[in-house]
Symmetry: C2
Subunit: 120 residues, 2 copies
């Protein structure tokens, strides 16, 4: 794992919502969108420092280092922020079987339409 040396100016740009959270999209190195979850300032800093995706669990209200229980860590290769600095995008190497708690590789495995539940 390699830390990402975000500058303090970059970190100061990030806009958090009323709950102190910012949306974080994880995309694998082949371009597959794996999941979207949330980070606060602390877990964004941990993610960049550790080079592993660390979210904030809204349901459990606690730090959620992805893969600590499942082994499905997400190793960060690059990190981007959008033009409004209120959405983050991480290019990650997905470890283990995948990102989704259902056992699927991507959380976006259900498609609108009559042929629902197609694997992505």
């Amino acid at each position: 794992m390699t830390a990402i040396a975000a500058t303090s100016e970059q970190l100061a740009l990030v806009k958090y919502d009323d709950h102190g959270l910012v949306a974080a999209i994880a995309q694998d190195l082949d371009g597959v969108v794996l999941m979207m979850a949330w980070m606060n300032a602390e877990t964004l800093r941990m993610t960049l420092d550790e080079g592993l995706m660390v979210y904030w669990s809204r349901s459990r209200q606690e730090v959620w280092r992805k893969g600590d229980t499942s082994g499905d860590h997400q190793v960060v290769h690059e990190a981007f922020y959008d033009c409004d600095a209120d959405v983050l995008l991480f290019k990650v190497d997905q470890q283990g079987r995948g990102a989704c708690h259902t056992g699927r590789y991507s959380c976006f495995h259900r498609r609108f339409g009559n042929d629902a539940d197609q694997p992505q």
Copy 2:
């Protein structure tokens, strides 16, 4: 443009936040993540019916059919919902010069690190 025939059961699954909104990620057909914005139930229905991305503008509090002023429409090819049904992912054909109001193709053109502002 082609409508996407989402079933009423699928639409009923979608979970909206306290503001009646759900996050919508647009990804192009080559895998580039273009932007993330928000939809309400009405603009999700419009998006699926029209086959064009229609967001809800939080800043303007109005329906935002992407590209109506810029020409940068996003033609929907596939639409997915995640395992919690609280994030949507759309595979789109980006028209015009790109998704970002800055003129860049993707809104995620700024990278954390010392080499910031790299095009994606």
